[in-house]
Amino acid sequence: MQKQEFTITVYTENQIGLLVRIAIIFSRRKINIDSLNTSPSEIDSVHRFTIVINETEDVVRKLCRQIEKQVEVLKTYYNNNDEIVWQELALYKVPTDIIAEEVKVERLLSQHGAKAVVIRKDYTVFEVAGHREETDNLIKVLEPYGLIEFVRSARIAIIKNSEGFHKKLKEFEYREPGEVATENEFLNQNEEVFSM
């Protein structure tokens, strides 16, 4: 199995220490986290972790089961890049005088969809939301013009075919949840099971 980028989405309770519990599942196995974001979710009391790693699907599936085993984790999903809509936000600080002088720079910025957030006499801060390549490209573009500071946020992602978490949460609040915790690759392969 080939390594590829996977985005892991974890719905959790809001609990101090849970970040460590989740982080050590990766570090214990010497797996690097490429990006990690925590945020509120569509449900008031439920938090949402978005974790990006580069691994084989087999490893990712096992990691998700380990994450889901944590007491305060409600549900874990993993998706490849085709199954999600995602964005990262990047901020660029550039000297204002150069931008003012060079018309070319302004054109480049608008080509990359950059938007000015703050304009001061000494510097201007632009933001770009997009995929990694897009925000990376703008660094290269701005470097010759004296890029002062650059920062990029973690990935946030929406799962294309998800119906959200409201229904699932109701099931969890029930004594007996309505669906199983884990998927198995043999799930939809009855013939595999019986082929003796």
Partner: protein
């Protein structure tokens, strides 16, 4: 006048009760049915100990000699009784001394609740005296942990702690309580047991489809093989398990943790799996056509090399923990659920069979093992005593009724290979973590968990010295433990590996011992030492019949090895019966 009366009445009906945080902890224990606590006091847990002073009539506190001893004792208590063990320790070093036991309980799924004291909340993060970040230190080795800084949280948090520790796949839970919360008075309403946490599902849903698929595989199998672990014991499913294998007529082998779930002399029991397990079960794992794993986790000591493990077989895995399915060995049919519930469903669907020819294969391998390993170990012709003959005599004298707590190393493997058990929860050993020093403190806890049983702690000369201070606990609380030291004057298992795989370069494995009998005498514990075969039986008899604790040191052969053995990096069917085969 009337008005005043009314006010008084109102107050009375409200029945206000004020408790300190410390008292609330003990109230929670009583509600959870706790009667025995293993602990060690210290500065940051003093308010709880102060409260304990008034609960002395309802809660027994066993003062150990080291916090590691406390948690091992709680593990022993839990493992023999099926109840949750409870530990008190103070902050800082008290808490860090628990870590080995927590890790042991985590990997062997033992329900334990540890309460640690912590410095005042306003001192957190200031490097205060005996302050340590116990929550983060223990995160990888606990099923759940939580820091309490306000007394009002205590009843709910402890209810959650007991629920999490004991439900689903059990495990250790640590609750860290700051000193201000222990002292704080609050209006105590009532204790409500926890039986649901929305983000925690202790038991996965059982799906009939997979039970049916599993039954179909079993019914079509000609060489089915059951391997089982501690899940059968933790799920209280011994009866259900026996019913299943007896109806399906399938040979069953146990892991070191599953041992004693069925009597060791059960006709379908074919022995122990793993590195030093029996010959037949290991070899035939690679010849069976359907492998049914019940409540076990395919530890590397059981599977050997994974790419040479049961590749020919269809694999059915019954486990309560979904993360165990496909973790090490790919499963064809996953049967999620508590095996107490799934096994009867499976039993109902499987056909009654005998598989006589298949059983014969196990017997054939047994004969080879008898000749090459078991015979020489149990009936040696050399002058030196073997560990095996000691265990054999012990079997004769206890009739399989004793609880045997082993330490870690050669004696552990020999004891698990040869000890006979009639009852479940009789073999207590550190399987996953392999904690030397486990036997003595664990045996103490086991005695409190099963007071009517004979508890025998078997340890090597290395392991016993790691926690020998717990003789003090035995002395103070008059605990009746039979301590059997099998002394080969080496750290035997490491020596065996150095002999077999490191050209006999014995690097720091020779270990000297004190006069154990004298040490025991210092603690007012009777004992003796034997090294002659003629005196062995009498000595064991004396140990077992002695009223009170007793220490028996048996000098055994210095350079004996444990065989059979699956050498590291080899497949289970590459198991060898002697060192010449390596």
């Amino acid at each position: 006048m009337k008005a005043v009366e009314l006010v008084e009445e109102k107050i009375e009906t409200k029945k206000q009760m004020f408790l300190t945080g410390g008292q609330a902890v003990l109230e929670a224990f009583l509600e959870e049915g706790v009667d025995t606590i293993f602990g060690y006091p210290g500065g940051a847990i003093m308010p709880i100990y102060d409260a304990l002073y008034d609960y002395n009539d309802r809660l027994k506190h066993i003062l150990v000699r080291h916090e590691q001893g406390a948690i091992h004792a709680a593990q022993g208590f839990a493992r023999v009784s099926g109840k949750t063990g409870v530990v008190f320790a103070t902050s800082g070093p008290g808490a860090t001394n628990l870590v080995t036991g927590l890790a042991d309980a985590m990997i062997d799924s033992t329900p334990v609740v540890c309460i640690t004291g912590q410095v005042f909340a306003h001192l957190l993060g200031t490097d205060a005296f005996q302050e340590i970040d116990v929550i983060n230190i223990t995160t990888p080795v606990t099923k759940w942990n939580f820091q309490v800084t306000d007394a009002t949280e205590i009843p709910a948090v402890l209810a959650k702690a007991f629920y999490i520790a004991g439900s689903g796949r059990p495990g250790p839970v640590l609750i860290d309580i700051t000193k201000n919360a222990q002292l704080q008075q609050f209006e105590y309403e009532r204790y409500e047991k926890c039986n649901h946490i929305r983000s925690y599902r202790p038991k996965p849903i059982i799906r009939k489809k997979y039970i049916e698929a599993a039954a179909a595989l079993i019914n079509n199998a000609t060489r089915p093989f059951v391997i089982f672990g501690q899940g059968v014991i933790l799920g209280n499913a011994e009866k259900e398990f026996k019913a299943f294998i007896e109806k399906a007529g399938i040979p069953a082998a146990w892991t070191i943790m599953g041992m004693s779930a069925i009597p060791t002399n059960h006709p379908l029991g074919v022995g122990m799996l793993g590195m030093h397990g029996n010959y037949g079960p290991n070899v035939l794992t690679n010849e069976c056509d359907v492998l049914i794993a019940v409540g076990m986790r395919f530890d590397d000591r059981v599977t050997g090399r994974l790419d040479k493990y049961a590749k020919q077989a269809k694999i059915i895995h019954l486990d309560i923990d979904p993360s165990e399915i496909d973790k090490n060995v790919k499963t064809n049919v996953p049967v999620w659920g508590d095996c107490k519930e799934t096994l009867p469903m499976l039993t109902a669907l499987v056909e009654q069979k005998n598989h006589t020819d298949w059983h014969q294969k196990f017997k054939d391998y047994q004969l080879k093992e008898d000749e090459k390993c078991i015979g020489p170990e149990l009936n040696p012709t050399t002058d030196e005593l073997t560990m095996g003959e000691v265990i054999k005599l012990l079997n004769e004298l206890t009739n399989g009724e004793a609880v045997i707590v082993t330490d870690v190393g050669q004696h552990q493997m020999v004891a698990c290979r040869y000890a006979k058990y009639n009852n479940s929860k009789s073999n207590i050993t550190s399987g996953g973590l392999g904690t030397m020093g486990f036997a003595l403190p664990t045996a103490i806890g086991a005695k409190f968990g099963a007071p009517s049983k004979t508890i025998i702690a078997i340890a090597g000369d290395g392991g016993i010295q790691m926690t020998i201070q717990e003789l003090g606990t035995i002395m103070q609380f008059d605990v009746e433990i039979k301590i059997l030291i099998l002394n080969n004057q080496f750290l035997g298992m490491v020596r065996q590996w150095q002999q077999l795989f490191h050209e006999k370069r014995y690097s720091f494995v020779g270990i000297t011992s004190p006069n154990f009998v004298q040490v025991a005498k210092g603690y007012y514990i009777e004992g003796q030492k034997v090294s002659e075969r003629e005196k062995l039986k009498d000595a064991l008899q004396t140990m077992l019949q002695h009223k009170g604790s007793y220490l028996l040191e048996v000098m055994v052969g210095k350079e004996n090895n444990v065989f059979p053995m699956v050498p590291q990096g080899k497949g289970v069917s590459e198991i060898v019966l002697s060192k010449e085969e390596i």
